[in-house]
Structures are given as structure tokens and as C-alpha cells.
Symmetry: C2
Subunit: 276 residues, 2 copies
């Protein structure tokens, strides 16, 4: 058995600040049904979107290091905020490949726009980092990018207000400046937002295509596993192991139902902290 074969049987680790990253798990299950997946959502410290880069880097490193120590062959950062602010740090300190959701989202946005004007919505931290705008401009110089922090959307999603007058009123406010331009592709730059895609599409109007990085992230992960010989080929369905840093509430069932993920045991575990 070569080293690569041994490596290939190890799980893919996916982490997120909370529950939203299960949208990426769902896409990975479809794209890579043979892979074992370990998911850890940091619900004890959620949300990351209003916190500083130093804190987001520390939390991301704590979680990813733990998952690698437990045998992950690759780390997928399902959280846009952590992808925007901690990916460089993770690639520096981890011994396995790390994939985030920003680069796949950028690729998908470039495939979707005709006008050359892309909008990005996300948390304060993600938008403040300019990670999407920078990556879009690096990939296609001259592209126009309109970015908008939408801090109220995560709480609205967590309240399950997917189709609601309050959510529509908040979206109207966030999306009006985007609708007023010639934007034709809108990146949903937060794992919570796909759960609002119907409302976002309604308020954004028919000229704007929504770009969700989850599906593209799964394709990028598959490509990476193939290129590095790390793809599992067991021929049997991969396992899914979900845990959180705090006891999950009913929102987990809402999300799991919406995504069609199997119901398994969900564990609660603590993450050792760094730097004390």
C-alpha cells in the first residue's frame, strides 16, 4: 500500500463558525459520495462575522489543527469569514492542503457575469477584508466589484425567517445600491445566505444571477483530491461525522432538513485554545 493510498482513506475535515457550513457538506456529499467527512461547527463562539482578524485566525487555527491531528487528509474552510481572514494563516501552519470558499466563489462569479460587474454580499469581516474583491480583480483585471456587508442576514436566517416581510425589507435596503448598477452576478459570500436564496432572488430581480460557492467549492476539492492522488475509492458510501462546540438547537434540524442531510449522531466537543 503506497503512502497515497493510505492518505486517501482519511476523512476530509470541514469546519465552519456554526451550522451554515453544512451547505458545503451537502455539496461535497453530492460531488464526492465515497469520501468520509468530519464536520465541526464552532457554535460556542459563533458568529465570526463581526470579530477581528486576530480572533478569527486564532479560532480557525485551533479548530483546523485539532482536525488535522485527528487524521484529516485535507481541510475545507466552509465559513466565508474564516476563508477571507484566516486561509493564509492556515496554509502556513497546517501540514495538509486547505481549501476555502472564496476562490471557488470567484471562479463561479467570473463564469456567470456578462456585464463584468459583480456584487458580493457577506459579513462585516468578510467584506471588510476585501478578499472577494481582491481575488476577483487578481483573476480578471478591470472587473468591477460592488461589495455590501449585510450583518442582519445571519440573525434573520437563524430565526428561520426565510420568506418574511422583515427579511424582504432588510434585503431591499442592502440590495438597492446593487440593483441600481449593471451588476449581473451576485456572490452569496456567507454560508447562511443560500438558505435565503429565494428571497434574495426576488429582491435582486431577474437580471442578477446568484452565485453560491458551495457547489463550486466541492468541485475544486474534487479536482484537488484527483490531482494529488488523495481521492477515496472505496466504492462504498462515505461516513458523515458532525460535531459542534455547543449543544445544537432546533436550527440544526431546519438546516439538515433543507439540505437533505442524513440524521446521525451529533456530538458536542471542546476545542483546545492556543496562546494562553
Amino acid at each position: 500500500m503506497s503512502a497515497n493510498t493510505a492518505d486517501a482513506s482519511r476523512p476530509i475535515a470541514v469546519f465552519d463558525s456554526g451550522i451554515g457550513g453544512l451547505t458545503v457538506v451537502s455539496a461535497l456529499r453530492r460531488e464526492l459520495p465515497d469520501e468520509d467527512i468530519v464536520y465541526l461547527g464552532d457554535t460556542a463562539r459563533v458568529p465570526y462575522g463581526g470579530k477581528s482578524q486576530a480572533t478569527i485566525e486564532r479560532y480557525s487555527e485551533e479548530i483546523a489543527s485539532l482536525l488535522v491531528a485527528e487524521g484529516a487528509k485535507m481541510v475545507v474552510v466552509a465559513c466565508n469569514t474564516a476563508s477571507a481572514l484566516a486561509l493564509a494563516r492556515l496554509r502556513e501552519v497546517l501540514t495538509v492542503p486547505v481549501e476555502g470558499v472564496i476562490e471557488p466563489g470567484v471562479e463561479a462569479a467570473l463564469g456567470a457575469t456578462r456585464s463584468g460587474h459583480v456584487a458580493v454580499i457577506g459579513t462585516k469581516a468578510t467584506i471588510g477584508s476585501a478578499a472577494y474583491a481582491g481575488a476577483l480583480q487578481a483573476a480578471r483585471p478591470g472587473i468591477r466589484v460592488t461589495s455590501m456587508a449585510c450583518p442582519l442576514l445571519v440573525p434573520l436566517v437563524e430565526e428561520g425567517l426565510f420568506d418574511d416581510a422583515v427579511t424582504d425589507a432588510v434585503l431591499e435596503r442592502y440590495l438597492a445600491p446593487i440593483r441600481a448598477k449593471d451588476v449581473d452576478a451576485l456572490v452569496l459570500g456567507c454560508t447562511h445566505y443560500p438558505l435565503l436564496s429565494r428571497a434574495i432572488a426576488r429582491v435582486a430581480g431577474p437580471k442578477i444571477t446568484l452565485v453560491d460557492s458551495a457547489a463550486n467549492c466541492a468541485r475544486v476539492v474534487a479536482r484537488h483530491l484527483d490531482e494529488s492522488g488523495l481521492r477515496a475509492d472505496s466504492g462504498k458510501a462515505g461516513s458523515l461525522d458532525i460535531s459542534f462546540t455547543d449543544t445544537p438547537d432546533h436550527f440544526l434540524d431546519v438546516v439538515r432538513g433543507a439540505l437533505g442531510l442524513e440524521k446521525g449522531t451529533v456530538r458536542v466537543r471542546q476545542v483546545p485554545t492556543l496562546g494562553q
Copy 2:
């Protein structure tokens, strides 16, 4: 110098899940101008309101133990969620007196109601704990209590939407069931809510008196210090030392301005975690 005199010169520690607890600090400054106050806001893990009792107890114990080890003569839990879920635990493990905001809020509500029907609004964790309802009924058997979790109010406050159509629409939804009853006192059971008091009063209508526990908490703390001989009598203005577990954003300036708190140095520090 007696032990009590030495004790009395030590600071009062105030902690909160974030910035909102500065409303309690502001009330303490007015009530107890000679006291040194040390404030620690856990912005790296904010909010507490949607988290489990085990996590809220752990965070509260970590922070309060640190402040006591650093010399606090008393701990004031400015956070309603931590007061509701962790006060018993803190009183068990700490060697100094601990005061929360629930009992002072209950006292104030009982003073305000004529109809004998009190409403309480707060986070999911606070309302789920039934701490207010239990304490109200223990203090005055037969009192009627209507409780309502209002999870969207904290994010709206943190966005600074104090007087805004979206906030009013959300408040309409939360307060309609309260307005439909003979409630005449409404406990603002979260330190963020006093910043919305104008909007809440507008939506609640003129028959309902708003009860804010901050001022009453300061009076209870003063009474406690007097009774135990722990009151500072330096004759000079007490110091105020503010720190957070994450870098503060512009919201700190908004709150400090609204409360008329002096601008001093604000530190960022980590809290050692327990139980790993």
C-alpha cells in the same frame, strides 16, 4: 487597618458578554462615584443569548474567576443571560459576593406594576431559563408574567438601528401579544435593550412602564457594599478600567457616547479557558 478597610479599596468587577453591560457601569458610576470599576466584555465569544447553559456557565466562570484572582471585591454580572443561567454556579465557586441583574429587575418590576401582570423580554437563553418568571413568582405569588424571547433585537442594536422602520416592524411582532394583555410593566431583560427604549416605548404604548434593571442593580450593589462594610470611601473619583476579549469596533464609541462614559484606554485581553 482592618481587613474590611483593605477590602473596600479593591475594585468592583463588572462583566458582560459584550458592550451592552456598560449600561450597568454607567448606573454604577452615578450611584457609586468613589468606586474603582473593572469591566470585561467577552466580545470574542459574544453573543451568549443563543448558547447553552453549560457554555454560558463555563464562560462566566472563566471570566469571573480571572477578575477575582486579580483582586475584585465583588462581581457584578451585567449580562442578563449570564445572570439567568450562571449566577448560582458563580455564587458556588467564587469567594466574593456576586450580584446579577435579574433580582434587581424583579424588584423594580414589582414596584412598577399595578395590574399585577408583568412582561419580560430577553434573549432566547434568558427567556428559556424562566429566571425572571420564577423570581417574580417567588417574590409575589400570584403575579402574572408574559415572557417573550426577542433574538433579533441584539443584532438590530448592534447595527445602531435605534429608530428605524425595520426595528419598529420587528418590535411590533414581538410586542403585539404583550400589548393585547393587561400588562403594565415591561422588563428590558437584556443589557442591549435600554438603547432601544425610545422605540420600545413607542411600540409598547403609553400604558406600559419600561423597567430597566441597570439603575436598580446599582442600588442593590450599593446596599450590599454598605451592609458588608465594603464601600470605598476614598473621597476621590473612582477609576474605570475597560477591557474586551476582542478588538472593539465603532459600536463601543456609539454606546460610550450614549452613556456619557469617559473615554479612557481600552485593552484587549484573553481569558484562560477551563476544563480542557
